[in-house]
Amino acid sequence: MAVTTDSLDSAAPASRSPTWTRIKDALRRHPTAIIGAVVLVLLILMAALAPFLWTVDPQAISPARRLRHPSETYWFGTDMLGRDVYSRVVYGARVSLTVGIFVALFATLIGLFLGLVTGYLRWLDGIIMRIMDGLMSIPGVLLAIALMALTKASLENVIIAITVTEVPRVVRLIRSLVLTLREQPYVEAAIAAGTRTPKILIRHILPNTVAPLLVQATYICASAMLTEAILSFLGAGTPPNIPSWGNIMAEGRSLFQIATYLIFFPGIFLSLAVLSVNMLGDGLRDALDPRLARNM
């Protein structure tokens, strides 16, 4: 990060513009990140414009045209209730992206707060980190399905359950950053100058966590979309009346040998979505974290 200046007041704002220059530079150097970004934007557009993309009602049942294979009329075929798989897949993007974006947002915000607090207020550190260690010892998908087993299947609960599994990693990251940053001369200088703790956290520590946090957020987004699909696929995710990619595949499971397209079309879109976010994340990491970027 660019915060090396001696002036305490210019320390925080100085980090902003080099960050953006670095992002732009890295995007130029990493064509895969651009591809990822473009695909992601296309998927977001697809989700937003779902009603205008030649879709029909994704829930419209039509027993007369069950299990039609992909054709000119039914681009991705129809499922066992005669619903149009193309429309369901297009609308399914809404669920995946919503879950991915909101989990990334909530997990980073909660993780940031807890990480700042535990990294700076040492007396809280022991308690919160033991809780995080415990949470991290439960494999993520298992914790999420256990939480889902207890609540009503709904989009909100899926987002909450996955957020719980992602928060500890963010706390760890932020805490370790804070532990290094608080030893920096400019923070010590600020303490010596009598700056109060909240102000130090916000003015001097917070700006330095933005870059790693942004990278982490993209990975969380990718991981959350995968977890949502796994939950729905196992029958513990979004309720069946919401067409999510995981749900479409779950319904196609028993019919796989006669209707492979029920798994493959949503599977391709899910993989594409996760891949694009991961590629964008790799590019951002290269741009914002040169130390890590060298090798990964």
Partner: protein
Amino acid sequence: MDGRDKPDHDNPDTKRESGNAGMLSYFIRRVLATIPVIGMVAFFVFSLLYLTPGDPAAVIAGDIATNEDIERIRNKLGLDQPFLTRFGTWAWGVLQGDLGISIFTNLPVTQLIGQRIEPTLSLALCTLIVSVLVAVPLGVIGAWKVGKFVDRLVMLFSVLGFSIPVFVFAYILIYVFAIQLDWLPVQGYVPFREGFWLWLRQLILPSIALGTIYIALIARITRATMLDVLAQDYVRTAHAKGLAPNAVLMQHALKNAAVPIVTIIGIGIALLISGVVVTESVFAIPGIGRLTVDAILRRDYPVIQGVILLFSVLYVVVNLLVDLSYRLFDPRIQY
């Protein structure tokens, strides 16, 4: 303890002694440190049920339960007692190897797990072996040919491995190798005692499907670590003194990259455990993963608690063993 006060480099004997004592105390400290973590996990797993709003007994019983069903479950879980008493009773039982009774089958949870352990262990072991055998060479080649075509291929594979969901890849494998080519069975499991080949045949596709993300992870870390090591002075020296590139790579570099690689293999066990649940469902393998999914769909809470506790303890213990094994891979490490 007097020897400790002197600087170590003065006396080699003292150094070795304090090294061993340090190691023993490190081992003990490390083992003791897992106890609060496992205790925390047990507490989470137990209290999960009570975090939910409303009556846990009614939640478990589901929407179509009668009042008697709810009452029966309430008695079985001892819900009329205070929370900490219940936790104490449960934890004491767990310490004695009693994970409770399944609400759905009325069998002890330990018995249910015992019946299902072989398929899961088989799948996990096969996957672990396949993954390490594939991933480490991939990572080494990537680092060796850094920036070249092969390296880009390894990195591409790694990103794909992280992005394609395990069940989607599993269905692609089934479609190609079981349905189209008819080389391997579509689903199912054959116990080991019925023959090694029959057993292995069933496990090939699940192991590859489950291993992909694990391979991606290990290959990535191996490559990154090897790149670090290859930039070290002693590697340059080894090259300079005319050692064959293979010897440099295997004897000097890989050996020194072992600790981070072994660490990520341990941490990656979490991916493996999460993946087992999905893979067993796709391939209809009657293991603990299936047990978990069935228990969740039936809201059989004692089983869910038991299985999650088992997996989490396994994860913690594996990573403890990884920590303790560092000295084997790198004798320089002093605890």
